[in-house]
């Protein structure tokens, strides 16, 4: 916008448009106020209708911009503008004595035509949004067509030419029908081709996205696994990490994952797996927002998992968490060597401070059950607030 004035095209903008965005687009392109451009068009329109012709041509030729538009704001403004224009036109004609009742049906016909033409714009825009309301558009086209036919019939009726026009109309209808029948296969094939092409494009985009993801994750990991082939622990770790990542990608994550307790616990499980090369079988029942007090439970869970991974000698640690109405219970269990809790000196930092102390500071409890050879289970209970 600043240093590149070279090849900017005029587009019909949807923001600030009144009818089709031609004037608004030109005003934006020239850097003028839309009001000035509008007045210029009105002046030209009064000069034998040059302005109207120019407007029509511009409407056809100038592409519309792909920016989204808010439906509500523009519909009312447009309607008001058009109504004002019509009433104003009649007033002018009435005061100059040029008014004839035959003009009234023509206005209807014009309105119908405008309605149908507008749908071409709508259809294009709806394709960009890909969420167009098809039914309402179809209704608008039908309504416009009916309005047009009624208006023209009314016009012919008021000037008394209806009877004559009927014969001409009949032959025209026949010719049009014939043309439609003749070209129908081409039209059908064209729309089918268009649709097929769009579908193919969407599919290839998706494929490219999947390929990119697989390349960044799975293929990289496979290469790393090949390099680390003689280190089983590292291979397991790589495979497990990749599995987790891929799974998260395949089964799209819950939206509030970042803030939820279940999300936090699963994250902790993944981190411990990665850091210590064990498998953490995490099962979480229920979920709730992760309040600061519950984050302490999460931190204690991490410590319990890390302890199990470091000291128990087990390759698998089970993590089970259950969220109930008023509290959160977490069990961390391994089938490792176990220890005698009574024999651990009270000043040992890990369990005493990180787990029991932390839970108690936040109004929770922590119980460690273990015996030599029988594995260890840490039971945490945190309050929801």
């Amino acid at each position: 916008m600043t240093a590149l004035p070279t090849h900017r095209r005029v587009v019909r903008v949807s923001r600030g448009r009144v009818v089709s965005g031609v004037v608004a687009g030109i005003a934006e392109h020239l850097g003028l106020s839309p009001l000035v451009v509008r007045l210029a068009f009105v002046a030209l329109a009064l000069a034998d209708g040059v302005g109207v012709a120019m407007y029509a041509v511009l409407w056809l030729l100038v592409p519309q911009s792909a920016a989204p538009v808010k439906d509500s704001e523009r519909n009312l403004a447009q309607l008001l503008a058009l109504a004002a224009l019509t009433v104003g036109g009649f007033l002018v004609l009435g005061s100059t004595g040029l008014f004839s009742p035959a003009l009234l049906p023509l206005v209807f016909a014009g309105a119908g035509l405008g309605l149908v033409w507008r749908q071409a714009d709508e259809a294009q825009r709806a394709r960009w949004r890909s969420t167009g309301n098809r039914r309402s558009r179809l209704l608008a086209v039908l309504g416009g067509a009916v309005l047009l036919v009624l208006g023209l019939t009314g016009f012919l009726a008021t000037i008394g030419q209806l009877g004559q026009a009927r014969e001409g109309l009949l032959s025209t209808v026949v010719v049009v029908l014939g043309l439609a029948l003749l070209t129908a296969p081409w039209w059908l094939r064209m729309t089918a081709d268009l649709r097929a092409e769009r579908r193919e494009r969407i599919r290839s985009q998706e494929r490219a996205e999947v390929a990119a993801h697989v390349h960044d994750s799975v293929l990289q990991t496979l290469a790393m696994i090949r390099k680390a082939a003689d280190d089983p622990r590292e291979v397991t770790r790589l495979a497990r990490t990749q599995e987790r990542e891929l799974r998260g990608w395949l089964y799209a994550p819950v939206p509030s994952r970042e803030l939820s307790l279940a999300g936090e616990l699963e994250q902790v499980a993944a981190e411990v797996e990665e850091a210590h090369g064990v498998t953490v079988e995490a099962v979480v029942v229920g979920d709730c927002p992760a309040s600061p007090a519950l984050l302490a439970t999460v931190a204690a869970t991490r410590e319990a998992l890390a302890n199990a991974a470091r000291h128990s000698g087990a390759t698998t640690v089970a993590l089970y968490a259950e969220v109930t109405a008023d509290r959160v219970e977490v069990f961390v269990r391994d089938r490792g060597c176990g220890f005698d809790p009574a024999a651990v000196p009270a000043d040992r930092f890990g369990v005493a401070q990180s787990i029991v102390g932390r839970m108690e500071r936040h109004g929770g409890t922590a119980v460690v059950r273990s015996r030599p050879g029988g594995g260890t289970e840490v039971h945490l209970e945190g309050r929801r607030d």
Binding site: E243, R247, L250, V283, V285, A318, Y320, E322, F331, R333
Partner: protein, 219 residues
């Protein structure tokens, strides 16, 4: 020891079948392998094995399609779903189609052999994940009293307090034997509770169950 169980492996990954086969070779008779739904149906009908290890996710409909294809054609055969990571919907679909249990592929050889034997005996096999899933899916309804008359239709939608206790321990990684010791009940009673939960899972038609499964993943 009684005579060895006959087992059919159904999985579309050859490597995985080979792995399971070598793990189980000393414990059961692997009498056949299939890698497509059609192959599996034909094989099961032909061999009438004791147990079919069934992959949840395969082309052409997966485990559910195999169960539907076999139908009543192998009345003595039990199915155990085996999977690496699937949407809860698929796993629950296989269970509701008639599988007697669900275990993950990361299960150890001993545990798998044990699970095969239990399924062959007519019991249900729940992995910690599946136990957690059931607890979650049934969590909205209050427990029914333990001594309530069975087979009452509304009770299919709810778990008893004891069933919850059992499932909770399984979700915590306890074996059936450990569950029994923890709750001071017999191993047979644990089996009964788990089988009853499986039945509820298969027969309950609460809408929450399928909706729950649809927007969650079960691994």
């Amino acid at each position: 020891m009684t005579d060895r169980l006959s087992v059919v492996l159904v999985d579309d990954h050859r490597l995985f079948r080979a792995g399971v086969r070598s793990e189980l070779a000393t414990r059961v008779d692997v009498v056949g392998e299939a890698e497509t739904v059609a192959e599996a149906v034909a094989l099961v009908l032909d061999r009438q094995p004791d147990v079919v290890l069934l992959d949840v996710h395969m082309p052409d409909g997966g485990g559910r399609a195999v169960l539907a294809g076999v139908g009543a054609g192998a009345p003595a055969t039990r199915f155990l779903a085996l999977s690496v990571s699937d949407a809860a919907e698929d796993v629950i679909g296989v269970i509701r189609a008639g599988a007697r249990g669900y275990v993950t592929k990361s299960i150890s050889a001993d545990e798998l052999a044990d699970a095969v034997r239990r399924v062959a005996d007519g019991d249900a096999v729940f992995s910690p994940r599946l136990a957690g899933f059931v607890l979650d899916a049934f969590s909205s309804s209050p427990p029914v009293p333990d001594d309530a008359p069975a087979a009452d239709h509304a009770d299919l939608d709810r778990l008893t307090a004891r069933e919850r206790d059992v499932l909770r321990l399984i979700a915590r990684g306890y074996t059936y034997k450990e569950v029994a010791a923890e709750l001071f009940i017999s191993g047979k009673t644990v089996e009964t509770h788990v089988s009853s939960v499986l039945r509820k899972l298969q027969l309950s038609n609460r809408r929450e169950l399928s909706r729950w499964a649809a927007d969650r993943r079960l691994v």
